[in-house]
Amino acid sequence: MSQVDRLAVDFWTGRLSRRAFLARAAALGLSAGFVADVLAGRLPPAAAGAVEPRRGGTLRVALDGEIDTIDPHKSVTIVGFQVYTQIYEGLVRANPTLDGMVPLLAERWEQPNPTTYVFHLRRGVRFHNGKEFKAEDVVFTFERVMDQRFASPRRPDFLPVKALEVVNDYTVRFVMSAPFSPFISKLETLRIVPKLPGHDFARQPIGTGPFQFVEWVSGQHITLRRNNAYWQESLPYLAGVQFRPIPEPATRVVALRTGDVDVLNAVPLKDVSTLERDPKIKVYRQMGVVRDHLGFHMQRPPFQNNPNLRLALAWAVDRKTIVDDILFGHAKPAMVPIPESHWAFNPKVRGAHGYDLDRARRYLAEANPRPSEISVKVSPTYPDQIKMAELLQASLAQLGIRLNIVQLEWSTWIREVVSQGNYEAEIVLISGGIDPDDFFYQWLKSGQVFNIWRYADPRMDELLDRARLATSQRERQALYHQIQEKLVADAPMTHIVYRESVMPVTADLRDFVMTGRYDMDFRRVWLAR
């Protein structure tokens, strides 16, 4: 995050008083326009001296699959997120560097004590149906998500909330049952809908977002048009956005190269270099929050109480070949789940695991038991991981271990590995996370659903809980550093790579900001054609 962006965020999140903000803005020589925007909670404008954006045009986006639903409290797919984000907004959103939150429907917020958050809502915002956005809509939305009968996949994120109180029409107060530091980052998924009991937001979406719903023709397109009453006047520049599902990767790439579509939400890595050579296309690349790992079942032989065997495997993963040959250079070796650019990343873990078969042999000599065969479960839904397993198979053969690769259809993989814990080793990729808690707690705390390795360590549990309760960033950072050092030492899994997010778009698309999470923020983009 730049110094200027950081300044705006510090003011919005209550870390800086108005006076201190104005003093620093003056010291940095920021324009009066910028200062006025920040005070009003608006996006910082485009860089000074930029071309005047052109209005109009429909942006055509190819998606790699049909979305599940446009209901923001029901959707569980990335494509669903990419579509509903245009229509529905939350109180806050992630900043482009994905390491902090910035205001959206809330103008600002403060935390008077460790368990209370007060949000001041933006005034004058209207839903697509004309209704004014108020505190009652926040309450209605929250109750909708928490309703057990509605069965929203977002519900687990908000279980720590004890109460949501309306202070007045433009102020709400969230009270936690205990300090819960990742709360603000979780809040991004609470997309606000208008208080319309019984309304079907999947069939007739109504939000406050920059684009409003026109139609969804199954298998053909989802069409959105500009919200002319968007709260940030003058935005968006586009007249509309049309999403088209194109599941076959080769077809998607041709559709972009021939100008049938303007944006690809996903692209085969082998095609990136071809697209980068095409003058009509611009490829955005950003190190992301997607990471692959090789995980071990911690409560079953051969890995149970056998750290030396786990470390032997951690040193038998040839990450360089995986980056260069399997992922075409669009990745880099990873040791921990959290990205290196994140404020909570611990630089000391770099090189904690590597590729050194002699070292792996030494660990193996200390291992007890020393199995002659190990099975690893992968899913053909992610073909890269099958290749990673094959590479590991060759390395382990040199150590005298036979690796059996078991391929399972995705839902079977979920059932066997996640639900039942019926496996020895697994390879999979995990995506997402903004607050450091997102990267560690649900994965490493004993008894959590996502703790697929059945890792249960009292010291780790204590560190995770303390990091959740700590309120200052410095204190949290120190705790997360310890957590990462412990993670690479215990090795319930060994991380393999961080993946780059890649998004190819037409060269006519301007002012697009890429994040490492496949966000599609079209509020400020425009088409130069």
Partner: protein, 315 residues
């Protein structure tokens, strides 16, 4: 004939019931469940159980199937678990697309395959015959999705003549509609064109060796008349059978082709529905496709009597 038709229709209903049972059981035996799709990976076992109960998935299979069948008999195919759209609406939007694609693919296959087979048979053991049979072999062996991608690279990327993907309703103009339909229909029809050519050839060769052809030639009929009027009509009977039977396989092939070209038919719909364990959609689509397939077979049998008056059905 009427009695025959009534019997066939009754038989069809039994077959459809059988197919529905088989599909239902197969879906139930497949791991994974719609509750897990809906709740995402974070769901706790308690939440999953609650959602399954709410969806009626905790009841005995026989009860679930009975309820579904009862609704179908009232003309209600249910609602998609995932998108919440009525299944009937999804099928109505998408089935005509697949039907048209399949019929046009058949037309393309017949227009290429039958003449090729006839020419091959009447010019037996010449260079032309060898070229046609080789091409037919190529058509039969080429995986249709691969051929589809090659077509995209040629006609969209290199020549820029046709759109690489998507669908244009007729409302956007017939020309635009056909430009989107051309490549999917050609890739889908390729396999059938190859097998039709081979089939027509062998059927023609057999017919041309028969006595009535020799008689015709002895009477001094022109070779064109012998081949196209007398031999072809007789040789077409098995070919029509093949066409009718292939209709179902084309529907199967459409699943792949629709994926490649992002063509919004019922095949692609069912593929997504299977991966999401969206039972009502899978059941509804299979039922409709099976009904159409059974009807197509019935039509083939009726077409026989027109082609060969010697074939008569009881009653």
């Amino acid at each position: 004939m009427t009695r025959y038709l009534a019997g066939r229709l009754f038989h069809m209903v039994l077959v459809l019931c059988g197919i529905s049972v088989v599909v239902f059981v197969m879906l139930k035996l497949t791991p994974g469940d719609p509750a897990a799709t809906l709740l995402g990976v974070q769901a706790t076992p308690e939440e999953l159980a609650r959602v399954r109960r709410a969806m009626g998935l905790d009841r005995p299979w026989i009860v679930q199937f009975g309820l579904w069948l009862g609704r179908v008999l009232q003309g209600d195919l249910g609602v998609s678990y995932i998108s919440r759209k009525p299944v009937a609406e999804l099928i109505l939007t998408r089935f005509p697309v697949t039907l048209e694609l399949t019929l046009v693919a058949m037309l393309v296959a017949a227009a290429i395959g039958i003449p090729a087979g006839v020419i091959s048979a009447s010019r037996r053991y010449t260079g032309l015959d060898y070229s046609i049979t080789s091409l037919a072999l190529f058509g039969v062996s080429m995986p249709s999705f691969w051929f589809g991608i090659l077509l995209i690279l040629l006609f969209s990327l290199s020549l820029g003549w046709l759109p690489a993907s998507g669908y244009a309703p007729v409302a956007r103009g017939l020309g635009e509609h056909l430009r989107h339909l051309a490549m999917p229909a050609l890739s889908l029809g390729l396999f059938l064109a190859g097998s039709l050519a081979r089939f027509t050839r062998s059927s023609m060769v057999e017919t041309l060796a028969q006595d009535f052809i020799r008689t015709g030639r002895a009477k001094g009929l022109a070779e064109r008349v012998v081949v196209y009027k007398h031999a072809l009509k007789n040789a077409l009977i098995p070919t029509v059978t093949v066409l009718g039977l292939q209709f179902g396989f084309l529907m199967g092939g459409a699943v792949i082709i629709e994926q490649v070209f992002a063509y919004p038919g019922v095949g692609w719909l069912v593929l997504i529905a299977v991966s999401q364990r969206d039972y009502p959609v899978v059941q509804g689509v299979v039922l409709v496709v099976a009904a159409v397939f059974a009807l197509a077979n019935l039509l083939v049998d009726v077409a026989y009597t027109w082609l060969n008056p010697k074939i008569r059905y009881g009653g």
